[in-house]
Structure formats: C-alpha cells, structure tokens
Symmetry: C2
Subunit: 787 residues, 2 copies
C-alpha cells in the first residue's frame, strides 16, 4: 500500500512510502522507487528474493542483440542486489513469520531507498531489519547498500550469501557470455563479462564491510562459485540487542565508457582501474559515499529543478518532485551517444529504446531547465542520422527517415516486428510502427526548432541542427505521393500517434508535421543563404540543398492538410476515421487497466472503430501553435476546442502519453477542472495507488508530461513562435507555484499566485515575454497582476 | 522429510514419500522423484513456484552449445509444469497459510508422481489439493498432469495460469531462439523453438481439460503472451465441496526424432503431426493415458527387471526398485545416437554428458537384463568413433581416443575447461579430465568385451565391436612412452579414476586397462585371422591392422604394470602416491557433504596428499578379474585384500562411483558387514534422508551401482573369463533374493536364500556356471546348496 505524506520536517512532500508489503505487487515499488544516475539504473527489488520480482540493473548504452531474430536492447547486468539471508538456517522472507512496522521509502531529496521492519521468525525470534541503498550521482559508476540486522529477543544465527549473480537474463534472453569470475583476497569479487553480439565488456566489482555493534569485525566467509555466480557466505551469531551492519559497495565500468575517451581501449586496464576505483571508495564507507551523493543531488538537481507548489492537495507537490527525480535518473546527461528509454532505466519494457517520447514529452523539460542536457539528447539524434539515412535508402526515400525506435545511434531501426497475442488468430500481432509510424522524423525536426528557439544556441544549429532538419525535410519530400484526383500530395499507409489506427491515409498529425518540417527547412535554408552562405555552401555539396529547396517549395504548398470540418470544426484524424463505426466505450473508458479493449477485439477490428488510443489530432494542435504556423486558421483555438470535445470521449488513454496532452489542452480551452483532473490522473500513472501499472518500468513520457502539464499547462509557459509566453491558469487547488526556467540564456525565477505573476531574471539584460495579450519587457524582475 | 514405508498392499516397498514440505530443500524430490522415459526427463518441481526450485525438462540428444566459450549441453526446454494458482486473488504457496496432511509420493511401480494436502489460506479458507503427473512410457512424446482442487469450507475464487514458458535457461545460459508461440481455438498452445547453435527444432503442444464435480465445463480463458511465454488464465468460483479438475496434456517432438527416420525433414509437417498427436491423445484424458503408461511399465520394466528381496530392512527392497526405476527413465533405449548422462535427465549437472559411468557402472545392468539396450548404448560409442579418432589426431596419437565427456556422437570431446573456485587463487579451477583422463578408451573396450562375452552377440562384434577395440588399442600403442631407464613403456601425465591426483605417471588403473585393451585387440585379431579372415581383410585396409598387431605384441609385453608391494601386497596407485604425505582425514571421512576437503585445500595441495576421491586401484581389481587376465598373480585375491585395506581409509568417497565398488570388494574379501554397510550408504546417496545431495540431479553411476552391489556383490553374479559365476553371499539381513538375468541367450530366474541357490532357465538348452569352486551344468533348472 502506497502512502504519500510520510515525509516530515525537511522531507515533507519528499517521501514516497509503501507501508504494507505484498509479494503479489512487487513491480510497483521496484519501478517507481528505482534508483539511477543516467549512467545506470537499478530497479529497487528487495534484497531477499520473491517469485514475482523483476530484478534489473542496466548501464545505459550497452545495447546488445541477444539473438539473430531479436532486436537490440539494454541487457540486464549481473545482479548484486539480491542477498540471501538465513535466520537460524531458514530462508528469510516476508511471506512468512510476522512483519511489523514495515515501511519502504524512496527519499526523493536524497535519492536513497530504505526499508525497515521488525520480523518475528516462524520460530518466534524477533529481529529488526533496516536496508538502505543508493546509486551515486557523485560517482556514476558506484552503488552502495547497507543492511542492519538487530536481534531483539534471542540468540540467533544470521547468515548472508552475497556476491555477483550473472544468471540474470532479459526475460529469458541471455546477453552475456559466461565471463570470468574472481575473488581477490577473500574479499573483493570481480566479474568480467562481454555481451555476445555488441562485444561490450562489463566489469563489476563488489566488496563487503562488516561491523557488529559498531565495531569492525574479522570475518572469514566461505567463497563459492556456481555457473555464472560467485559469492561469499557470511555467518554470524547475534546475541540479544547485537546489531550487525553489512555494507556492500559496488562499481561497474564498461568498454563503452572507454570508447568515449581518447585513450586506446585495453580490457586489462579497465579491470584494474575499476578495481582500483572500488578499493578507493569502499574504504570511505556507506555514510561518507552517501553524503557526497546527496550533495550533488542538492546542487545539481533540486537547487535547479525544484518546483514548489502550495496546493490543497500535497500529492501534487510530491508528484512533481517524483517527476523531477525520475527525469534526472533516467537521463544519460553524461554521454551524447545515449538517449532516454521509454521506461527510463527502470524495467525491461521497450528494451531501453528511444521513441518520440523523448522529443515531445521529455525534452521540453530539459530545454527549459537544463539546455546542456537537451543538447546532448539532440546530439544523440544527430549521431543517429547515419541510421536514419540508411533507413530512408532501404525504403526507397531520400534524406533521413528516423527509426521509430532507436538504440545505439548506429543501429538504425530497432522496432520489434512481433508483439502481443492477437486474440482472433492466437498468433503474435504484427507491430507496424517500425515500418510506417513515420512522424518521428518531423518530431525530431520540431525538437531542433524548439531547442534553438528557446536557447538561441546557434552553434548547435550550425554543427548539427541544420543538417537534421534538411535531411528530414528531404525525406518528407521524397515520401509524398501525388494524388491525381486531389491534385495534391498526400501521405498514405501510415500510423499516427493513435496506434489503434494502422495503415491510414493522410493522418492529420503526420501530414501537418511533415508540412512543418518542410517549411522549417525552407526557413533555415533561407536564413543560411542570407546570413551564413559559407555554411550553406558546405552543406550544399553533400546534401544537394539547392535542388532540395526547390522541391520543398513546390511540394509543401501542394501537400494535402486535412481541413477542419466546415460545420463542426473538427480536424479529421485521417481520411476515414470520422466515417468509422462508433461503439459504446464506457467499459474501456472506466477500466483500471489499459488496453483491455484487446480482450474483445484484435487490432484489425479496432482499426475499424472510432476509438483512439491516445491524443493524435490534439497533440498536433498543441505542438504547432508553438511554431511560426501558430496563426494558420486550420489550427485555430476554435479547432482546438471542437476537436478536443470530439476526440476526448473516443480516447481511451491507453498510452501514458495521452492524458497530459489532454490536460494541457483542457486548460487551454478553459475546461479548468477537467484539466486538473486529467493532470491528477496523469500524475497517478506511476506514483498513484494502483499497484500494477509500472511492472515493466515507469512511463518516461508521462513523467515528462507531469512537468509539462504543470509548467506548460497551469503555469502557461509556452514557446509561441519564438517568443516566451507566460499565461498562468493555476488550478483552484493551487495557491502558489514557484520554479525556474531557462530562456535564451537567462535563468528566470517565476512565482505564480492566483493574482500575480512574478518573474525575476538572473541578469540585467532585458527580454520580452507575452502574458495574456500583452507583451512585457523584463529587465531584472517584473510583477504582472493576473485577473 | 523422506519416508520409505508408506506403500501398502500391492504398493508395499514401491513408494518413496516426502511427508513434510520445506522450500529450503526442493532439489531432493525434484531429482529423485523425477519422471522420464529415456526420450525425455522432467524434474518433479511443484506446480506452484518457489525461489530455490530447479525446474528442468530435457529431451535427450538435443545438445546445444549456448555460446562460443561454453560446452554443449542438454538445453532446458520451455516449461509446462509450472502453474500459477491464485486463491481469492492471492498467490498460492505452501510457504504461508497452513498445510495439513501433506504428502508427495513417487510410485515406482506406476511411475506416477502425486502430491496431496489440505491448505488453509491466510484468510482462513480450507482447500484440498491433489496433483498427479506422469511422463508416458507408452508414448515417449507425451506427459500429462492433473490438478484437483476442492473447496472444503467457503466459497472461494481459484484461478490458474497455465501454458508454456520459454524463459527457462540452463542456470542463465539461453539455448533457444525466441521461437513462435501460438494459441489455436483458445485451447491448444504451441511453441516452436530452435536451438541457437545445433539448430534443433523443438515443438511443444499443450492443452487443458476442465471438469467441475466430474462434469466437463465450458471455459473461456484469457489468452496472454509475454516475451517467451504464452498462457491461458482460467478463473473459477468454487462453492463448498465443489471439486475442480484440470488436466494438462503435453507433447514434445524435435527435429532430432525426425533425423532418425527415413523421411525428409520438414518443420511444417513436424508442427502439424505433433499437434495432431496431441489432439488424438488429449481426448483420451489423463486416466486412460495413465493406464496405457503403467501397463508398459509393468510389461517392459517390472516383469523383466524386478529384484525381490526379503530383508529385515525393507529400505533395501525399495532402494533396488528405486535404482531400476531410474535406470529405466534415464536411458534412451529408443535411439542409438544417445547416451546416458551422469545425472540421467534429472538435472543440469554434468550437462547431459556421458562418462565412463555408463560403461563401468550402468551398462552391466543392461548387459545382464536387457542386452538390446546395452547394444544401443555401445552403438552410441561406436558412432562416437569419428570424434574419438579426431581427438587422437589432434593430440598426435593414432586410433581412437574417446572423449572423457561425450554428448552428440559427432561432437567429440566436450569436457569443460573451468570448474569450481580455487580457494587459494580465487579463480576458477582448471579441469584437466578432458585432456588427460584417458582410461575411458580402455573402459569402452572392456564394455565391448563384457557385452559380447555375456550375450555372445557376434553380430555386434562384427559390425561395431572389433573396430572399437582395434582403434582404442591403436590409440594406446601410440600413447605409450618409452622409459629408457626402466626399459619399459609407461604412461605419464594422466588422471586415473581418483581425480584428486592430477598429472600422475603410471596410474595403475590406466596402465593395466591399456594393457587389457591391447591384449583384447590381439585376441580379437587372432580370432578373426582364424575364423573370419574376410572380415579381417576388410578391416585391415583402412585400419592397417597387421602392422598394428605387430606393435601391440611388442609393446604390450613391455608395458610397465605397477607391481604389488613385495611386503604389503598393495598395488601402488601411481608412481608417487605411496610416498605422499598422510594427513588425518577424520574430518573429511565423517562429513555429511562431499568435497569438503576443498574448503581447506585447493587441487594443487590435495595432489600432494595420500587422499583418494574414489576407488582407483580397487576398481581395477574388480574389472580385470572378469577377463582373461583373472589369473595374473599381480591382481590376485591377496592383492585385492591388501589394497582394499590400504586404500579404504584414505578414500573419501567424494565421488558417488566409489562406495559401490568398495561394497563389492568388501564382500569379495569376506568383510560382509562392512560390505552391507557400504551398500546401504551407496543406496542412500540419492534416496536417503539427506536432503541436499541430489540438487543437481541423481547420481546415475551410483544408481547403476546399487544394482551391481546387489547382483554382482551379494548375489555373486559375475562374468569370469567368459564364464558365468554365481557365488552368492547374501547379507545376514537378507533372507531371500529373487531376480532374472540374461546369459548368452538364456533368461535365468535366480533365487537365492542363505542356504540354497536355484537357477531356472527359460529353455532346455544347457549351459554352465561356476558356483564356489564347482562348475555346474544346468539344463532347465538346478538347485545348489550353499554353505
């Protein structure tokens, strides 16, 4: 059972708690309390094992394809978290005996996991357990844990088996060669393994330190090896009130770290230096390592990102911090070669692949909060250009056709081909996204636009951005199909954001975004021609830009853009959606689980109904209004309103990406209480009380969406055609909202109350922003009364 | 807790029982109660999962090498035994709630596993569970199980998730490609997978049948797929006294079955025919399938193999049947391309590889009980000749050097290179057996000799046996090294049966067995020259036999054969053993576990001590006396006695092969009560009360040894230089022993009491046997009084 208000004092609204343990619902806390630092992510499985556990530890970027017919994925590393505890020779488990005062907590402020309880063994002996664990943000390669066991009643024998277990797989798929296991000096354990396809070397070192009643004790553990396992067995006899403390410090390094450096790679050196790193740090002990870690969390995370809310509902504050916590731990800020997985690093779901989730749902947070990280994430997409070009070529197109799912930049398209069961045929369903969900290329172009408008980072554009936008535009130009009857170009046989409609023609989102992509490329071309002809010349040679530019001009104007209905003002999602059968969706709208419609229909059948998985036409309206197309009458406020009211009842929100867009749009169109309720629902997708929603990992896009709904939605911050807009509409439950954003080199402290907007810049350089219909010039600080 | 006397009536001394469940000791019953039919073997893991379970299902001969640096092994198939049961939504487990009347039983007579108990859920609802399972001996591809759940107190919701789970690995090593999963008609589930290296296709089909209170019910299960998994979810609500019955029938077929047939292989046909096979049989239902299965057990196993003992100790009777049961289920009687694994098919230990265990410890049972199976097992070795010749070539020798571990016949040597932890270095220990444990080639030649002497199967000799004996002799001739100082040939740098001595020179067992191998080849050569010159001519061309024969003659006579000590009559185990340091072995002799000496010494250190893992010089004496070398004074009865008394105290029996040889020899030298106690110990290795000895699988050789100790030991049956000897010395606890043996085409019914030996043949053709010092001529039947 989850609780949200156990934090007190300095930790008020910082603590996520589980106050009752059930081995039937392990996935929830494993995922939402997962630890990480962007370099690695570790699910918070308990030390003692349970049947339904999902014990995962990933290092970002170590992608590997376990077998020929599988797609590449982040391999589950050898495990160091499981510790087999025996009490008087019997396996310790919370499934039997009696457990009291159980609480497991994630402290978002210090990024530390803890768990404590009293346990009375089946034989009647009472012990107190206390577990702590963190993944360091001050040393990206390090994780540490601490176990305390206190005997409260009798003399008791406690034994621990702890080491490194490389029997882990990704749900049965093995990524690693057996590797070398070694114990040094009966103390340091090292495992060296290599992935079986990508040939990434992974070195894991671990060591233990033991105290009884605060004093270091000499231990002589047994050493053991089994296939893919090596461990030490410690045995202790505790007298009543004896307190055993065991610290375990672990480091992980990979050859991919080394690749990022200048030096020539050498496995032997990697082994030695990683072991050295462990020796150096293990000596400091858990508490000192933890102190360094939480300092970094304070300085680099909370001092920069924190959003403070005075709300009637304290859950809102916690949910925002929960989002900021996960946005931090999921993001490989340290390495431009890595993206963000759709489940972060918190589960095997989506295999660590990056989707449009990053650009549309997560990147905005970094653009407005930490542009250096945003740049790194976009650079990852730049490095993906080669793969995107190859995909275009293979499909008979020009330019860059980005993979729907992207892993290591050079891997190209990595979307699996087969998915869940088709209840009609009994076979696996075909996944078409890798082939025909094509809007991703335009989404990335949009992200380049948004990033550079907000940051004015011309250097990025020069070095990476132009090329990305030009090449995606070239793709679209080659992708368009002439429809003689319409006398227009169209785009047939795609999947839009609403994946419940496969093989549709002229998906509004796809067509408009392609249009935007082409227009953006033209703008950039013209800008370069005028201001940086040399750079244009340099790009022109390999890319054939002048010819391309002609083609963009001709084709963009003749691209079919679905018009809002004359009467109802609803943008048709695609050529046929509005004519499809409508059915009663009550059963699926009121579901506790997503995708229950698949219990009754297969995808072919769903394709023929007016039912939408997630925001499709609606997200289009939200994205494009941020650009130079904002004044296009086809995407006006009225269209937004009409489309919202049409699609919302037909949308099952079976993607976690959906609710937040609806929340923002509801706020935009004045449906404030609906907006707040949609925000709350989206903030419950992972953090909420439902215990089985996060089993395969947290929903990274939805977590980015929590920030978006608060900042873009309620605080009304938006990029609007190159200008900052701040047009707050706080929910009536919120009395005050305080946060920082970055805007074109400024760091702005923003405070919003129901009646006042205060903006304070960190320099005296002036800048403009729009609030309501007014343009404000701000120099230093400004206060704007709100009606 | 194990019990051995729960069988009553027709099942008296047929039932192995576990009467208390502990999730800490699962391996015991999983292994010793494992099911099989030689085609497949299935560990008896419980339906509901537990942390420490080892859920294994192997089909013989499907060897695969998961990764480049691993050796080939039997891959763990997708699992069909696990069934997730929920009671009122909570996972059912015996680890909580309250369990009463628990009993798990293996019925050796019917080869059926059953388990029943009453369980009171944590919420206080009482249910009765009854599980049954068998692996069919009448249809080698079929296994079936049945679950009965009865609500004893309340209305209760019971749900079952059951299907096929291909997330299984061999301790983390994945052998299978992801494969195709499919549900037909919401009922039949099919998985088609291929091993990732050997490209063996495996097709598994399963289906369920549901009854409530004896009536078929319509069910509409949910269908689900996860990665490598497909299953159906059944939900039921039981009223008090409602009885739910769910039958699950499963078939498995592989492309290796097909290879054995004449038809051209076609996967599609395999899929369809295997599904057809399931449909056909599933309709019959559990009870009818089981009836057919137990009929075959009666006719083909118990009517032929059973040994009946009147003993003060009923455990002895059960232990013999336990041995006969496992000898049946472990042996691939259906396919000459397959051997017997050192753990049978009951665990991952030793990877399904065949060792000398087969020829020396298991084959004698089949030679004397079912010569057709013995022939099949020897044919497997014949098919291994190519690999043995390759191994000889690679090592610079001639002829055939058999692999220490053999898998698929063409795989050649498959012994792993690295083993358990070396406690001194902290690294994995090097396994030398694959390179230098060479006696296996002579052991196989001995088996050919023993088989043909007992069966007079000249056809086998002509077709396979001569070639095997000649080629192994050629190997030995090329292997011998001239020692100038001794003026003799010797064999240096080997491991004998005692693997605690690595890199020794002139291991007595190896040298004598090589000598026997050479002498046997010479005999066979001479016999062929005299009686079958044509066959000799045919073999001579490719094998160069006439030259080889010359070499055998010269070298055999100059081979150094360690002489018994002049004073003490002890055969020195090798050149240095008798000079090594002696230490107090009490600690290790009285151990409950084997190999505890490795906790204190690494293999390099053990190498320097007078400590023996298992019978070495002693087994030599036992083997050679069965041959034409029986009268060699170097292996006289006095030498046997002296050597036994010298080595027994130094032997830790850390191999399960050891006790039974000692038991037979103790009986031979008149140490009757020691013999009986060693027999009892050997009969407890798997079946006994110790709960952790069989975790990696049963000990196939030791199980063959139980039969040997009873029949070769107490009943005194022995091949003695081509003659049958029956020289019984029943333990004083045994009052009567009754069994059958095959002898040169006769089936002999033998009854032994302390005072009388009765032999009855199935034909009137007369034959001779030796009892005591007398030769008896038997025609029909004979009774011989015993003193």
């Amino acid at each position: 059972m989850m609780e949200y208000n156990q934090g007190t004092g300095e930790f008020e609204n910082w603590i996520v708690s589980e106050t009752g343990f059930s081995s039937d619902y392990l996935g929830k806390c494993e995922a939402i309390m997962s630890l990480g630092n962007g370099y690695m992510g570790m699910r918070s499985a308990t030390e003692e094992p349970y049947i339904k556990e999902q014990r995962n530890w990933f290092v970002n970027g170590t992608f590997n394809k376990a077998q020929v017919n599988e797609v590449t994925e982040l391999p589950n590393l050898a495990d160091i978290t499981r510790i087999d505890i025996r009490v008087d020779g019997e396996r310790f488990s919370l499934e039997y005996g009696k457990t009291e005062e159980y609480v497991r907590q994630l402290n978002l402020k210090t990024a530390e996991l803890s768990r404590s309880f009293e346990w009375i063994s089946p034989k009647g002996k009472k012990l107190r357990f206390h577990f702590k664990r963190f993944v360091s943000l001050s040393n990206l390669h390090l994780t540490a844990s601490k176990i305390e066991v206190e005997s409260l009643s009798h003399q008791v024998a406690v034994s621990l088996d702890s080491g490194i277990n490389a029997q882990m797989t990704n749900s049965g798929s093995q990524h690693f060669m057996e590797g070398e296991r070694r114990v040094f000096d009966k103390q340091l354990i090292q495992l060296v393994q290599t992935t079986n396809e990508s040939q990434v070397d992974v070195v894991i070192n671990t060591t233990h330190d033991v105290k009884v009643n605060g004093e270091e004790v000499e231990v002589d553990p047994d050493m053991d090896m089994e296939r893919r396992k090596v461990w030490l067995s410690y045995e202790f006899v505790l007298q009543p009130n004896d307190r055993l403390e065991v610290e375990k410090v672990t480091t992980v390094h990979t050859s991919r770290d080394w690749d990022a450096m200048e030096a020539e790679y050498d496995l032997q050196q990697l082994r030695e230096s990683s072991l050295g790193n462990l020796k150096l740090h293990a000596l400091q002990g858990y508490d000192s390592l933890f102190e360094a870690h939480q300092q970094v969390w304070k300085q680099q995370v909370w001092d920069v990102y924190d959003i403070q809310i005075d709300s009637n509902n304290s859950y809102d504050q916690l949910a925002l911090r929960f989002a900021l916590y996960h946005l931090t731990i999921m993001t490989p800020a340290h390495d431009v070669r890595m993206g963000i997985g759709a489940k972060g690093l918190s589960g095997e779901g989506y295999k660590g692949h990056s989707f449009w989730d990053t650009e549309v749902f997560i990147l905005p947070f970094f653009i407005f909060s930490n542009p250096a990280v945003a740049k790194s994430l976009l650079t990852y997409r730049y490095l993906g250009l080669a793969g995107a070009r190859a995909k275009a070529r293979e499909n008979g197109y020009s330019g860059a056709m980005y993979p729907w799912e992207m892993a290591w930049p050079t891997d190209g398209e990595v979307t699996p081909i087969w998915g869940d069961i088709d209840i009609v045929t009994g076979e696996q369903s075909r996944i078409w996204s890798g082939a025909i969900e094509q809007h991703i290329s335009a989404d990335i172009a949009f992200a380049v636009y948004q990033y550079t408008e907000v940051t004015k980072d011309e250097g990025f554009l020069d070095k990476y951005g132009y090329e990305m936008v030009f090449d995606t535009a070239k793709f679209w130009a080659s992708r368009l199909e002439w429809n003689e009857q319409r006398g227009l170009f169209e785009i047939t046989d795609v999947i839009g954001p609403d994946e419940y409609k496969e093989h549709v023609n002229n998906n509004a989102f796809t067509n408009y975004m392609a249009y935007f992509n082409l227009k953006l490329a033209m703008r950039y071309y013209e800008k370069l021609a005028k201001h940086k002809p040399e750079l244009l010349g340099k790009l022109d040679v390999p890319m054939g830009l002048s010819t391309a530019y002609q083609e963009w001009q001709e084709k963009a104007e003749k691209l079919f853009l679905p018009e809002p209905g004359e009467k109802d003002g609803v943008i048709p999602q695609d050529d046929t959606y509005l004519q499809l059968e409508e059915i009663d969706l009550t059963k699926y709208k009121n579901q506790e689980r997503v995708r229950t419609i698949y219990r009754d229909y297969n995808s072919g059948q769903i394709n023929l109904l007016q039912v939408t998985k997630q925001a499709d036409a609606l997200i289009l309206l939200y994205l494009l209004e941020q650009t130079f197309l904002r004044d296009d009458p086809r995407i006006s406020a009225d269209v937004k309103k009409a489309s919202f009211h049409y699609y919302e009842p037909k949308t099952l929100h079976d993607s976690s990406l959906s609710l937040v867009t609806h929340a923002i749009l509801a706020n935009d169109i004045g449906e404030y209480s609906l907006a707040y309720s949609l925000f709350q629902k989206s903030a419950e997708i992972d953090l909420g009380p439902q215990m089985d929603t996060s089993d395969e990992g947290i929903h990274a896009a939805s977590i980015g969406g929590i920030w978006k709904a608060a900042v873009f939605g309620f605080a009304g911050i938006r990029l609007i055609d190159g200008r900052l807009r701040i047009d707050p509409k706080l929910p009536k439950q919120w009395h005050r909202m305080k946060f920082h954003i970055k805007w074109q080199g400024h760091s702005l402290a923003i405070v919003i109350t129901p009646t006042m907007l205060s903006v304070k810049a960190d320099s005296e350089k002036s800048f403009e922003f729009e609030a309501g219909a007014t343009i404000h010039k701000c120099k230093g600080s400004i206060e704007v009364p709100l009606s």
